[in-house]
Symmetry: C3
Subunit: 130 residues, 3 copies
């Protein structure tokens, strides 16, 4: 199972919660876990507040203050900051499935993080029953 | 399965290793994995040294130096730093279960991270046999 | 299953992808997930670009700029920075196994991160079929 995402900005967080929910629903698995895996070295997957878009803009702004886009990097493709942000945020998350639903908190949404867009991206999913 | 935690400070790391161990013991599952999932957007789950409490105080202090509590944030609830720290530390961890025990390192403990307390919190657990 | 790593520097990222691939191959499991768990409180596991070694040197350099080796830390063993970096990078990663192969992106490799070496380290693996 795979989610396709087309990012439109250089830095962006895109809510993929509904896509993950749909994949879980289609699998027919009602109890277990779902692994959300980002295969891109300049992207990441994270879980945070989806209600106020200011939260994700603060996360992206803070990351760029910590990891500047231009600095004395060794990697010459101009996207070292994106690789470092990817490492800090993490490639994968695991969410519990209970009674057919994602066991997320009230305010939690699952986001694909783009740090070197715009690009066509895909996110891999795997559901394990249990 | 759910662990309830009552935090007493604004920033705090609470050792929940025994609660996770108890849940694994009660499940009767001796080989597999346990997912420790934090459903709060201003909390996190991490694994680090539990022997010297100075380690966790250094982690919290360093995070607050990197992500100040008060800055030019867009989110107006006054807890943007907590959301950003939650994103950096991560919502979930996976620990291996072998012969009925958590396969943690000698010095490792599992911590719930509070970044916007004091609050009543809960952590979700899921055990997968395998 | 266990991967042994002998680090040779104080800070180092070591590509363990082939070891994880070998363990998956030997397990005979063709579909599921593999958990890569670091049991050391001054190490981590991360997934990032393996093609250009400048990427991992930029990650290590950037981490050390954010978390200096010497600062007003409470922990007196002189390796507080290593514990903090371990917390930021994370103790574990989960990779999907499909048709007997790790479902990594084109440029992704799995790295053990050493932040307090040189040391003899081990990484625990667990494969769950599904």
């Amino acid at each position: 199972m795979e989610i396709k995402v087309k990012t439109t900005h250089n830095h962006q967080m895109i809510d993929i919660t509904h896509d993950v929910e749909n994949a879980v629903h289609e699998s027919g698995i009602t109890d277990g876990i779902v692994i959300i895996f980002n295969p891109h070295t300049t992207g990441a997957v994270t879980i945070n507040e989806g209600a106020d878009p200011a939260v994700i803009s603060d996360i992206l702004k803070s990351l760029s203050e910590l990891i500047p886009g231009h600095a004395a990097y060794n990697h010459l493709e101009g996207n070292s900051d994106a690789h470092i942000k990817s490492a800090l945020m993490g490639s994968d998350r695991v969410v519990i499935i209970r009674k057919g639903k994602l066991l997320l908190g009230t305010w939690q949404k699952i986001f694909f993080c783009e740090f070197d867009g715009p690009r066509d991206r895909k996110i891999q999913l795997k559901i394990i029953a249990g």
